[in-house]
Symmetry: D2
Subunit: 431 residues, 4 copies
Amino acid sequence: MQNINGQLSEEKVFKDPVHRYIHVRDTLIWELIGTREFQRLRRIRQLGTTFFTFHGAEHSRFNHSLGVYEIMRRIIEVFQGRPHWDNNERLLCLSAALLHDVGHGPFSHSFEKVFNTDHEEWTREIILGETEINQVLRKMGEDFPQKVADVIEKTYSNKLVVSLISSQIDADRMDYLQRDAYFTGVSYGHFDMERILRVMRPMEDQAVIKQSGMHAVEDYIMSRYQMYWQVYFHPVTRSAEVILSKILMRTKHLYEAGYEFKQEPVHFYSLFNEKKSIEDYLRLDEAIILYYFQIWQEEDDRILRDLCGRFLNRRLFKYVEFNPNLQMKEWPILYQLFHEAGIDPEYYLVVDSSSDLPYDFYRPGEEEERLPIHLQMPNGKIRELSRESDVVEAISGKKRTDHKLYFPFDFLEDETENATIKQKIKAILFK
Amino acid sequence: MQNINGQLSEEKVFKDPVHRYIHVRDTLIWELIGTREFQRLRRIRQLGTTFFTFHGAEHSRFNHSLGVYEIMRRIIEVFQGRPHWDNNERLLCLSAALLHDVGHGPFSHSFEKVFNTDHEEWTREIILGETEINQVLRKMGEDFPQKVADVIEKTYSNKLVVSLISSQIDADRMDYLQRDAYFTGVSYGHFDMERILRVMRPMEDQAVIKQSGMHAVEDYIMSRYQMYWQVYFHPVTRSAEVILSKILMRTKHLYEAGYEFKQEPVHFYSLFNEKKSIEDYLRLDEAIILYYFQIWQEEDDRILRDLCGRFLNRRLFKYVEFNPNLQMKEWPILYQLFHEAGIDPEYYLVVDSSSDLPYDFYRPGEEEERLPIHLQMPNGKIRELSRESDVVEAISGKKRTDHKLYFPFDFLEDETENATIKQKIKAILFK
Amino acid sequence: MQNINGQLSEEKVFKDPVHRYIHVRDTLIWELIGTREFQRLRRIRQLGTTFFTFHGAEHSRFNHSLGVYEIMRRIIEVFQGRPHWDNNERLLCLSAALLHDVGHGPFSHSFEKVFNTDHEEWTREIILGETEINQVLRKMGEDFPQKVADVIEKTYSNKLVVSLISSQIDADRMDYLQRDAYFTGVSYGHFDMERILRVMRPMEDQAVIKQSGMHAVEDYIMSRYQMYWQVYFHPVTRSAEVILSKILMRTKHLYEAGYEFKQEPVHFYSLFNEKKSIEDYLRLDEAIILYYFQIWQEEDDRILRDLCGRFLNRRLFKYVEFNPNLQMKEWPILYQLFHEAGIDPEYYLVVDSSSDLPYDFYRPGEEEERLPIHLQMPNGKIRELSRESDVVEAISGKKRTDHKLYFPFDFLEDETENATIKQKIKAILFK
Amino acid sequence: MQNINGQLSEEKVFKDPVHRYIHVRDTLIWELIGTREFQRLRRIRQLGTTFFTFHGAEHSRFNHSLGVYEIMRRIIEVFQGRPHWDNNERLLCLSAALLHDVGHGPFSHSFEKVFNTDHEEWTREIILGETEINQVLRKMGEDFPQKVADVIEKTYSNKLVVSLISSQIDADRMDYLQRDAYFTGVSYGHFDMERILRVMRPMEDQAVIKQSGMHAVEDYIMSRYQMYWQVYFHPVTRSAEVILSKILMRTKHLYEAGYEFKQEPVHFYSLFNEKKSIEDYLRLDEAIILYYFQIWQEEDDRILRDLCGRFLNRRLFKYVEFNPNLQMKEWPILYQLFHEAGIDPEYYLVVDSSSDLPYDFYRPGEEEERLPIHLQMPNGKIRELSRESDVVEAISGKKRTDHKLYFPFDFLEDETENATIKQKIKAILFK
């Protein structure tokens, strides 16, 4: 395929279940997709452990990244020729959309917690470091990789461009809500994206929505709200994630304690030692993780062995409601009883809390400022969404938190040992 | 969850994108799903290398197996109380539907070709051997596992039961056509299953379709036809499969030649030695395969290294039309030229042929006899489908074959060495 | 088709775009569908003048009535065998669901306002009077028609039965939201009905929803909210309705003034004279109305002629925001100016207000008490929905009203006469 | 809304369930939609009597005409800038697409048969005569109406333009298959139009399809085939049409015989007298027809009264298979027996035959030559579809005919009179 001014000689299309077709005309985009760092996203699931709850959720980040790119492409089509829109930013927007998640590793959430890494940092490294992606981006100019990284990190000077990929209604969110709904099969997650795109308008600092499209945006906000509670924070998914985190913690602990693994966990060394190595990081994908989990099922360490078996064979922890703020007294009691029952509470008694803020207006000075959604009124004025929409106002700024206590119920059921203690535990848990 | 006469105390449901919900009421089924052999199907993709062509096709055999079970459950609901239907076969049908694919390994097609294994045999072993599945099945009676195996192997005495899972219109096919269409996103693969189920009737030897549903069946046959050519036999998918097979062949060859792998391929030993071991077989899943492919990217053997890199980073072979029957003379010439160009033709020059018979009436004595679809006419008589349907008659018994020649175009493009020979090769390939 | 104990010898199905199939097994239901009073619903659109805004909204009340019946059938399937459910109420529920709208006339909303009729009263008359429906119902017992009427009028003793057809989450609403969304093509109106049905439970006084289904109910409430503002109260639809009402008012006025119509409006006489006649009422359908509107395009009366032309050829009134409470002073000025401009304000200057209460908890003593939705908590207790759901709480009890002023902009544009007055009018309207 | 070079100041959209949105940017198109002749299409159902079989099929020709326009708009978008495409034909194509059905009257099929009219002729008259449509079209040039008429009549010099609206794969067919499938709710009628549009290419004489899109075209041909037999030729639909035709025949007969109608059927006079009058023709819509059918239920003529009651209350004729070619002898016997039984066979014994040719290659000299579908091969050559596609070849040129005999079964059931004769009739019909 020859290039004609950066265009492919013939448009390439990907069949996509969510957007029907994904269209690629730019050589740059086509080459980025072909890099090994981008292809690696095929081996990382978009929704981590969610497939344990919704068996359809087996789609990869490759899948989602193409989708974000496609939405960006359509937004730019709408912006074409309008005031405030500078078409020189086009390829920058498309590249940033495609690459915004490229630093994700397998089960990022758990890995970041345990190993103190950050997928956003890795995204930056992959874009700026010695990678195929960097090589392709540099064809657009020496400073192009840095610009792409800046857009993803929200430090780029053109705030409109940043807002298209990181705001409360951006290409990223619009793709994942629809895509995750499609693959899980839930009936939430649908909203009229075509309409939203049609009423998006470029402004100096951000994209705004014509007021006539407000109801489509309300619907989108509600989809987001439902997806969080029905899918993303599902307690079964979190149970698998709790186990995963505990496996990683145990491995790290064993390594630090000088434990001898039957097979050296070489892929983890740079994580254990907190040494950054792009090469090592890029080797980490879900296949590697699952390989180790499988062989660790035969390790001598009882805890590691047990937890890996639970993860692979979906023998998850059970859960009860547990509010650590209200149930402060119960916690040390349970902790002590688990100890006495011979069930290490460090690994087998876990509180997990999830919380979400479905929509927020701007609260300057807060840790993570969230750009609010702005409507463009018929008279041209700009109004923040929650001032116009009852529904959004109702849920705006309201953080909801859900606390659960996870534990291996099968251990407690087995009363061949420590029967009395286990009965006490169960009495507290299921009172 | 306690059992009440083999029923769960509360129905369990799985959210499924294709059938909306999958309903489980029987303890037997619930326990089978929970076995490690069944959970392992989560780590085996339904469509092998198809995800390289259709990025949505990342769904697992776990996913499909639940779907076949659900369709069987609905068929039985329709059959309930009708003549020829013996409700004592109910749990047998459901178990066979759920387990029919349990012997599949990763990328079965390639593995079977190279290592001379057979997933159907493995299914049998897993059902009858020392497995959790066998243990659960035995709760229904000592001969129950054998009965399940018989149904799957089509040797069970009640032919009606066999036909529900292995005929030209069975629960298996009805699920995969719809499911594969859903996950790839293609617009083929849709047919009115609800109608087909409503007009299915049990007969002594097989399920038949009331004639009033003939058009829905035609539509199903056409879906099948389109899915084969648009999805299952897609040349890009086959390119990835060709590479995969060649990796396996190369590994086997190296092992037999006494090559020293940097890391011992222990998971492959029983395959290399053609020793059957359920334990070893069950360890093989796609994660393991991808783990090896990744580390083999750093092997000394140039061919193994190259092929693994191609597979992981989607640097696939290109293809041209090539009919081995018509182009017999070209083959040895190409083979020789590849040799001369230093590109081992054993691994880099591959003919792949796919062929399909979208529908067939019964032809006794042929290798794989296929049970035809029968219609029940308003007068009660039975007629074979292609005698009633013009469309089906038209494609009935017509085998279509597609031949392609695969090769690494990038090697031929690189003219730093053997330029003249490579030009000759290209002249032949692209004449 | 012979009856076997009230069952058809073979199930009948209707292909339905919303529920896929509508299943009829009871002779009673089949015969009700065949009556002329029920068939007449084919000639009455479900959404009145909405087709002027959404051209797909051409579906009839026949269509919707079958849908409500089907949902009821599925609810009863779920209730089968559960406590509080008396299966003797089955046919009563099904009949009431099917017939709940049978008293609707063409464009009921406008007719009821102008002629002071009430479709609920007509439903009662049709069920109890000398009709084919009454004859069919009486086969179930002399008091059966009365029971059906009672259920529809919410006076039936079994409140559970009443709630299935008249509550904030009943078979009627669940059908129309989905159906109207389907035919208009809007992306609102979708919710997971299958899930809601699965978690509905019969209680003494009403159907409740298991708490695990709360999010599906939230989604349903939001659908309802969106459908009201996006579809049902669409200002263009209301413009057509305003014109329709004015046609009816004008006709009535002319009749009362002794005007001689070129063709006698015989079909309207009982309405003009407020004499109830089932026979006359049943003759009124949309075809009849449109027939008159067509011939009235050639009447001598200028206003009638003009309004009918507007309706048939979609020359609708334009509108501006207008709050009659806040703009009290402007109203008489406009009214006077219209007079002066020779545009009769009685017919050509119309304020229309729509308001909706998307969800309400119980407020005893209010005009139209609305049964709230109740959740059944895991501990068996019952809680009102808005106490559990933030989103529903947010919109609960909040009445939203939209006021518009409608007028014929084309009259004002034409400045051949009364130019100065018309300019004044426009200055006020578009200030 | 002001015009800027023939463009609306702001794009108008219609929400459409099939194409999601219909986009209008040209003032010409917007004004054509607003004419009374086009608005009249709202009162004419797309599928005539099909709503008696599929209750969702209540959509109008207005609905379909907008859809054809939208597909044409998208085709032109794909053609833009390609060889053989002259963008000066754009508005002509869009106008012809929008107006191609504007001459349709209510239940055209039956009317044309009985009154010897032709909707294509009426389309021509409406475009060229004194109508609002003609006035709007003339703004584009005095010869523009004639050009539009020529395109619709297939006599226009640019055959490419003609083929877009009248070929075996044109905007008209692509819309109606999808639309009729959507509104009836059947699962046939789906095909990947987006793909077909993407691979359509303009050629000198017609639009061709790139060979890579062949399977999408096969799917379209199969959809067409299925829709014909499942929807368009459904025997229940035809039963209603048979009754309708007989009503029209009876009315004409009575009029010619000097019968005095209680209300003069003024709307029919020009049809009875075969005088063409656009004004009269435009008054005829389904509302008018249904109005007459209703009042004729009270006519003295027993046959007219009965038939109208049947139509309005869906008391349709039953049918049996009957091949007039094979059963030549039975016909006069049945005819005679009906006479003897006092059931006028002229109106109550009707043979109806439907036949379809799902796809045809070109057969010069035949009555209605049908332009075949051509594929553009990778080498640029053009091949006729059935030479490339097995499936299409299989059904190509094969005419299938279905014969039914319709009669009022209720008359035959009633054995209070002529019992013996009726038994004889039934013996023949149901032998």
